[in-house]
Symmetry: C2
Subunit: 131 residues, 2 copies
DNA sequence: CGGTATCCTTGAAGATACTG
DNA sequence: CAGTATCTTCAAGGATACCG
């Protein structure tokens, strides 16, 4: 896991707490940057949603990946899971304050991309044109 | 590739330009969130660097992945590649304005993580404690 | 020095089926 | 309804070797 990375960084003379930050930042960025997390966070921005609603709202996600993603988010305290003892069962997911705060930070990045997408796709197209 | 995703989104009645943004945002976030891009961007923040220097500075990256990462960044116009006709050859990479701008946006997110890492790791530890 | 090509391993994620 | 379990596929990424 991250043990070797830590070792490498320490070996390079990087301060321990800085190493810790680097490792966690990577962890969280990897999570945010994965295929679904951002979309789930964004879907939850307007309020609590239940599993099936999320499944329908996030286009293309499988039941399995939705379960995994929500599990990870809840584990990290970014969402809460509330199960109601009803028949049929109902489970709602909601952003925590921490989750909302992260969603805002992500939004900042998303805003940047939205603002510069033309520039990037143009650059890419131009680079590809040269083969 | 992204064709099916586009199709799914369109099918769901999402506005075409919005679909485009979603797709590009995912693309760019996936790139930023990958294992190395952020670290390379961060390494380049203080000025141009040559290939070998980057290889040493970014702990644990393989030559292959450094090549790939720099290729992608350059393709997207986030870095420039300058080769000097010398012996031995020298190649320097440098952030473009666009790249610096992205690095700043990423920094914002990194700042968030750095600020909340304790909270997250605590939550995770607590969740794990319950098995 | 600064890469690219090749091979190979492994983990991420989809499809499908089953359960409280 | 809200998941988990199992199987399988597929591509990211590491090791290694080679080349301009």
């Amino acid at each position: 896991m991250n043990a070797e990375l830590r070792a490498q960084l320490v070996e390079r003379g990087i301060a321990p707490d800085c190493v810790e930050t680097i490792v966690v930042v990577r962890d969280v960025l990897a999570r945010v940057g994965d295929k679904w997390t951002m979309l789930v966070l964004s879907a939850l921005k307007d309020g609590p949603m239940r599993f099936t609603a999320l499944h329908e709202h996030v286009a293309g996600i499988s039941q399995r990946m939705l379960g995994h993603t929500l599990g990870a988010l809840t584990r990290d305290g970014l969402t809460t899971r509330t199960a109601y003892a009803e028949v049929p069962p109902r489970v709602e997911y909601e952003l925590t304050d921490l989750g909302r705060s992260l969603a805002a930070a992500v939004d900042h990045l998303v805003g940047w991309v939205a603002q510069h997408q033309d520039e990037i796709t143009d650059n890419r197209a131009r680079a590809d044109a040269l083969d």
